[in-house]
Symmetry: C2
């Protein structure tokens, strides 16, 4: 089975995605030039739009997209962008996707406010859909993401529980928004409760795989493609799955050390993890999540949208950035 390009996977929702881009462009069109420049910088630094695509493809899977799908998809992307702005500020990150961050170019204060602004724009877009259930889903998604971040910041777990802790954390921080993106698309498409839950589980499992692959790429990718230094998670003191799996194979002493590493020690640990079987083991775990995700699609007839959702799952596994 070959991996399809992302453009090919997005073919059934090409027009809707363009309307999402217009919607995002409208957000940056304000009557105050410094704010316009700030929002323009933020929204120009595009990712792969996996989350809005998930909402749109989930809508297509049910029937076909209605205009509200475009608003929901744009709101999901704005919410995601807002969380990135706040994350980068909290982590004092200098670059994101190879571009300087807002906190680096302007200030941490501006980045916090810009994030709040985008949260509110997302809330407005969802309000325009007129479905209180979707506003609730939106609020719940933010609460879950914040909870994940807060647990990470408060984290005082012993290394022996790191793996469990990691799954919980990426479930809250990443998979929850993938789940909300897919569920909202299904609901807007007229899905039954059962169908919406199946799509939610598809999104959750895809999000888990996505984050594990992200964490793998942080160790195995090229700095240039990543737009940030290799091993930056560990350098920032965040233990990801490959590192945790590697440390589980080591003596307790080495594992405890990982909590307080000098930059030099972190670099050495990165090299050890890269050379270990923990990389392949992490890939296998991500594959398991993708399999679980695709299983949820079995209830749907074979068709363009289902094929794209299956291809998206493979893409998430095999992407190089």
């Amino acid at each position: 089975m070959t991996t399809r390009s992302i453009e090919d996977i997005y073919a059934p929702i090409r027009e809707e995605l363009q309307r999402v881009e217009q919607c995002l462009g409208d957000v940056a069109r304000v009557d105050y030039a410094p704010l316009g420049a700030l929002l323009g910088h933020i929204l120009a630094n595009r990712g792969k739009r996996v989350r809005p695509a998930l909402t749109l493809l989930s809508g297509q899977l049910q029937a076909s997209c209605i205009p509200q799908h475009v608003h929901m998809a744009a709101a999901i992307e704005l919410l995601h962008t807002a969380t990135l702005l706040h994350d980068d500020t909290i982590d004092r990150a200098a670059a994101r996707r190879g571009q300087p961050t807002v906190n680096a170019l302007w200030s941490g204060g501006i980045a916090v406010l810009a994030g709040d602004y985008l949260f509110a724009k997302a809330a407005e877009l969802i309000a325009s859909i007129g479905s209180p259930a979707l506003v609730s889903l939106f609020g719940q998604a933010i609460i879950t993401i914040c909870r994940g971040e807060l647990e990470q910041d408060f984290s005082d777990f012993a290394w022996r529980r790191q793996r469990e802790n990691y799954y919980r954390r990426i479930g809250l921080k990443t998979a929850s928004l993938f789940a909300a993106a897919a569920e909202s698309g299904a609901l807007l498409g007229g899905a039954s409760q059962e169908e919406a839950e199946a799509l939610r589980r598809y999104g959750h499992n895809l999000g888990m795989a996505f984050q594990i692959v992200d964490d793998l790429l942080d160790l195995t990718g090229e700095a240039e493609e990543l737009g940030k230094p290799v091993g930056s998670d560990l350098l920032q003191g965040t233990l990801t799955l490959p590192v945790i799996l590697y440390l589980e194979t080591q003596k307790g002493e080495a594992a405890d050390m990982a909590k307080e590493l000098s930059p030099h020690e972190a670099e050495r640990l990165v090299a050890q993890v890269q050379a270990s079987s923990a990389i392949a083991a992490s890939q296998a775990i991500a594959q398991g999540y993708v399999r679980d995700a695709c299983r949820e699609l079995a209830r749907y007839p074979q068709g363009e949208a289902r094929r794209s959702l299956e291809a998206l799952a493979r893409y998430v596994l095999e992407r190089r950035k």
Copy 2:
């Protein structure tokens, strides 16, 4: 006319305010102890609850409060609390209402996330009301507040436009939420479009007066009552109405200087403003806003709710903290 105590003013909505407190207390009741402690600290540091009272009294003015008024009022207070958390983080403030700030006790990152969490809780509460119009009003309120903060941060106005700039800024930052609080209470009470707009204007004017008095108290209050040092706005580089009015009476040179003051110069300027007629002039401007606010109530019959809204306007003027 004597100033009534705040308890007396709130008498017609005593029960509803208690339910707002329960609602806020529920937010802090989470199954994760560190988060519970954080939210408990935030929500225990109570202000005067002017904004939720405004929603409830506006509801009473129309007819009587329904359970949704309590949710809306709690959401408005949560949104306000979230903006304080973010403001304090951006300003690196050490104390708020005499208590150490979250950014001082925990970290700036935790304070940002806690603010996001409360935004989302507010969105959830409003979603539970089931009115997309109110979600829109909520989104619009956040957008307006952020816009005010961002314009303040980007501000590069010459001192000659400081007064105009100040009114715009406090209109966006403070009065907009007072306006939304009053308007949402009216709408939930079944107000006509005209009535909702009148209450919105009442709230806006009350908010303008509230902020001018806040800025006056920063110069004329007691550090102990304020819970922060006297003159802290100017020490942080923020020009407020009394300072602007004072500088307008001075030579241009002195006024331009105000942008880059040493702590010692700021203290001297505070003393000069305190001794000047700018204090009384600012009070007169606040009184004008209160008069404009109360004029909007003329369409309503005399009654408990109207009397409380009129008394609240006087209270805002005459409060000492």
